[in-house]
């Protein structure tokens, strides 16, 4: 390449970087701009420091199965559902690491479905590149805020970004769609053990030791899901729990106690629970916390008045069913 072309290329790229940097400031949020602005899981980063009692984390089986507002309503425990569809354990680990900088939950519920989702070293590399780009050019992270852009945001340029609490029903993925599971009983006992692949296992161990270091009780749980669950997977999770002295709650073996009715409680043919199924699981988990974890009922605590406000919206949403 000739020198002239080199100078042109460098000038073009410099201009582009400057533009991206400036444009980032237009899209960095400076206040609460709506329910779905931060999609669910990341919302926990905006919760006031050390206000979360428990965290549920995992993939869509998690985000669809525990509704923290239900637990709040019945038991007064503050929780956040950090489940993200297709989440890989590596992402779970990084999200957990990030949220633990601001929160100190006593319990972490880790949904097991992501244990069986293999990923490669290259995914780790891809994630770390993405995280770096997000840091250098916030526009990459906040690009979707164009949907909420308003000229008043320009006033915020140069001001300190406000980290306000946002309303996403504490990460729960609400769905009232009913699409029954019709294929009958799915629990067939076997001695087979599903092999958890190298990469998920690596991050599973990292998550376990992170919780141990932070003195957090890690509880594995499997949400009811005829489509994703198998006895061999149960055996694998149980073996891991046993090796690491963790509690493992497999709700698939407790369908009757839960009262799951597959004609009404699934949104997609037994893959995920809908709101009606999640309500039952949330009650179960809330009860479990009341019996096994030393948590405080915050419902009458003024510091948590925001939760009651959010509960009103949540009930308005769910009462229509």
């Amino acid at each position: 390449m000739k020198n002239k072309n080199r100078i042109k290329s460098i000038s073009f790229l410099t201009g582009l970087f400057l533009l991206l940097y400036i444009a980032s400031y237009l899209l960095i949020p400076y206040n609460n701009m709506g329910d779905s602005l931060y999609k669910k899981a990341n919302g926990i980063l905006k919760e006031p420091k050390n206000t979360i009692d428990y965290v549920a984390i995992g993939d869509s089986e998690c985000s669809a199965s525990i509704s923290p507002m239900e637990v709040w309503n019945d038991y007064g425990y503050t929780g956040y559902n950090c489940g993200v569809p297709s989440q890989q354990l590596q992402d779970t680990y990084y999200l957990l690491e990030r949220l633990l900088k601001n929160q100190h939950p006593k319990v972490v519920f880790l949904e097991t479905n992501a244990f069986y989702r293999d990923f490669k070293y290259i995914n780790t590399l891809e994630t770390s590149i993405e995280e770096t780009v997000k840091k250098i050019f916030p526009i990459y992270k906040y690009h979707d805020n164009w949907k909420y852009f308003h000229f008043y945001m320009l006033k915020a340029l140069g001001h300190k970004i406000k980290q306000e609490q946002i309303t996403v029903y504490k990460g729960y993925q609400y769905s009232a769609i009913v699409n029954p599971y019709k294929r009958g009983p799915y629990v067939t006992e076997t001695d087979d053990v599903y092999v958890i692949d190298e990469q998920p296992l690596l991050y599973l161990n990292k998550i376990a030791s992170l919780c141990k270091d932070k003195d957090i009780q890690l509880i594995l749980y499997s949400a009811p899901s005829p489509k994703c669950w198998s006895y061999a997977k149960h055996n694998a999770a149980a073996a891991f729990a046993n090796e690491n002295q963790l509690t493992y709650i497999d709700l698939n073996l407790d369908i009757d106690t839960l009262g799951i009715d597959w004609a009404k409680d699934s949104r997609d043919d037994g893959d995920h629970l809908n709101y009606f199924g999640a309500k039952k699981v949330s009650d179960y988990m809330g009860n479990y916390l009341s019996e096994h974890a030393d948590l405080t009922d915050h419902r009458k605590d003024d510091l948590f008045a925001g939760w009651n406000k959010e509960l009103k919206n949540y009930l308005k949403l769910t009462e229509q069913n």
Binding site: L20, P85, K120, E126, H143, N179
Partner: protein
């Protein structure tokens, strides 16, 4: 490491470009080959062994075909034996060719189709209450196997018919099969189109690199702004098909068609753009397909390289078989020239479409998809004289815009319907969805906000609409034979850079990626 990932765009590709430029001329194709294998490994790991097997086998068989010919030509033939010896030589070459094709196809058949075949065979065994069933088969598929297998077969056939010479350079042949920009979604290149350019080791040129980057930005725009955003809505409708009917299903079919086009053609833009940076011209795979007038024209403009492959290696060879030639003669005598010709060519056409369907995947919906187009194109061919008679007797000008509009609407309905079955989870789901268009049709779905409850908000629809307008405008300009990049190159530096900055910003800001979006796979990479 998909083409739209940061790892590919900001690490892999720049490193390969740099290594390519720094390498000595004769070593450059080795850089590309190494990069291609690294790229392959990033997706399929040890399944690289299948690609290596295909490469080694076509290399060996190509040379075998050539040496067979050399042996025949160098041997002395007595005049009385020459005919028999020539027949024996041709039979031997045919056997070698079939061995080569058989090796390629057997890997594809075992890895991709055995599960489907066994599953259906077991259904038959169950139906006749046979006491034992075949074991369930499922193999991991190496990335791009459907694409590189067709390239390998085309190489062997071209060598057999002496359109090209067998390549004794294993590295060049390996690169032809594995060139990383074409690995995921094609296009299906011929050896004569890319092999030489891949190995000539031309240094990077400023114009090629900038033009290539521009093409990649356009591809990213289509993929991230249109395809991946539509993915949210399409997945909702097709993954829970029982919940929807009428207008929602129509919207699903229409928007999936646009998603597929934006995804596949966007990926091809990135492929062609990458090739361009290295001075390699990769064949076009799309030519404004929605501007077509008929289904057959649509397929000459959509996935062009697959259509051309099927035409050259399936349609013509079947048409030239003795059986089809005799059928043609007999049917022409019985049904007249037009119908006779169509009847005989329909045998080859059937072969093309059943393979087109099967190539896409192993489900009855894909076979249905192929047969759907076979029947439509056959009917179109059969009715053509009648349509011509009716339009001329009614004095309808077939070139006027009203008639063209009618043809476009008819074609779009055909394409949307086909894609509904193509995308459906299976044939039964496709049939149910198609039926629900009529049984669950309510105009209220347009006004009661149902469309806004499927994963896309109003701003999402606005972004997608903006994307459509951009794609349509570019299509119109290309249809007029104007090169947009040449035009842009003619602008002054301020206008040119401003345009590019805006284009890049639009991709970054309007792209459907990151928090809140499911990672959308490249659709054709799954085939």
């Amino acid at each position: 490491m998909a083409y739209n990932s940061l790892l590919y765009l900001f690490i892999f590709l720049p490193v390969v470009l740099l290594a390519y430029q720094l390498a000595p001329k004769n070593f450059r194709y080795k850089v590309l080959l190494s990069a291609s294998y690294v790229f392959f490994l990033s997706f399929s790991g040890k399944l690289l062994v299948y690609l290596l097997f295909s490469t080694l086998s076509i290399h060996h068989i190509g040379l075998w075909l050539t040496s067979c010919k050399k042996d025949f030509l160098s041997a002395s033939h007595a005049p009385e034996n020459k005919k028999a010896e020539k027949a024996a030589y041709e039979a031997k070459r045919r056997r070698i060719l079939w061995l080569g094709i058989g090796l390629q196809l057997s890997i594809l058949l075992i890895l991709k189709y055995s599960g489907f075949l066994f599953e259906n065979f077991n259904l038959v065994l169950k139906a006749i209450s046979f006491p034992r069933l075949l074991p369930a088969m499922k193999f991991a598929l190496p990335i791009g196997i459907s694409f590189y297998t067709l390239q390998a077969i085309s190489y062997l056939i071209d060598v057999y018919y002496e359109k090209i010479e067998a390549d004794d350079n294993l590295g060049r042949l390996a690169l032809y099969l594995a060139f990383f920009p074409t690995l995921l979604e094609g296009p299906i290149c011929r050896y004569s189109q890319t092999a030489e350019a891949l190995c000539q080791g031309k240094p990077l040129e400023y114009k090629n690199v900038t033009y290539g980057l521009q093409r990649m930005i356009w591809g990213l725009f289509k993929k991230l702004v249109i395809a991946d955003r539509l993915n949210l809505l399409v997945e909702t409708i097709f993954d829970t098909p029982n919940h929807y009917g009428g207008i929602i299903v129509i919207a699903g079919a229409v928007l999936y068609t646009f998603q597929l086009y934006a995804d596949f053609s966007g990926c091809i833009d990135m492929t062609i753009g990458t090739g361009e940076m290295f001075g390699v011209t990769i064949p076009e795979n799309f030519r404004q397909p929605f501007f077509s007038k008929t289904a057959s024209e649509f397929w000459r403009r959509w996935h062009i390289t697959l259509g051309a492959w099927l035409k050259d290696y399936i349609f013509y060879p079947i048409s030239l078989t003795k059986f089809v030639k005799n059928l043609g003669k007999r049917s022409r005598a019985k049904f007249g020239k037009h119908f006779g010709q169509i009847l005989s060519s329909s045998v080859a056409l059937f072969g093309v479409w059943i393979l087109n369907g099967l190539w896409h995947g192993t489900g009855w919906n894909y076979i249905f998809f192929g047969m759907y187009y076979f029947v439509l194109i056959l009917i179109g061919n059969l009715l053509e004289p009648a349509v011509e008679r009716i339009t001329s007797s009614l004095r309808i000008d077939r070139t006027n815009s009203l008639y063209r509009g009618f043809q476009t609407v008819k074609l779009l309905i055909i394409v949307f319907t086909g894609e509904l079955f193509f995308r459906a989870n299976n044939l039964t789901a496709g049939m149910n969805m198609f039926r629900s268009i009529f049984t669950g049709f309510h105009w209220s779905a347009v006004t009661d906000g149902s469309l806004l409850k499927l994963g896309l908000t109003l701003p999402d629809f606005i972004a997608v609409f903006f994307g459509f307008i951009a794609v349509y405008t570019v299509g119109v300009i290309h249809e007029r034979g104007i090169s947009i990049r040449e035009r842009i190159a003619g602008w002054n530096v301020f206008a040119r850079w401003s345009f590019l900055y805006v284009a890049i910003l639009l991709v970054i800001v309007l792209g459907a990626y990151g928090d809140g979006y499911l990672p959308a796979k490249l659709i054709y990479a799954g085939f």
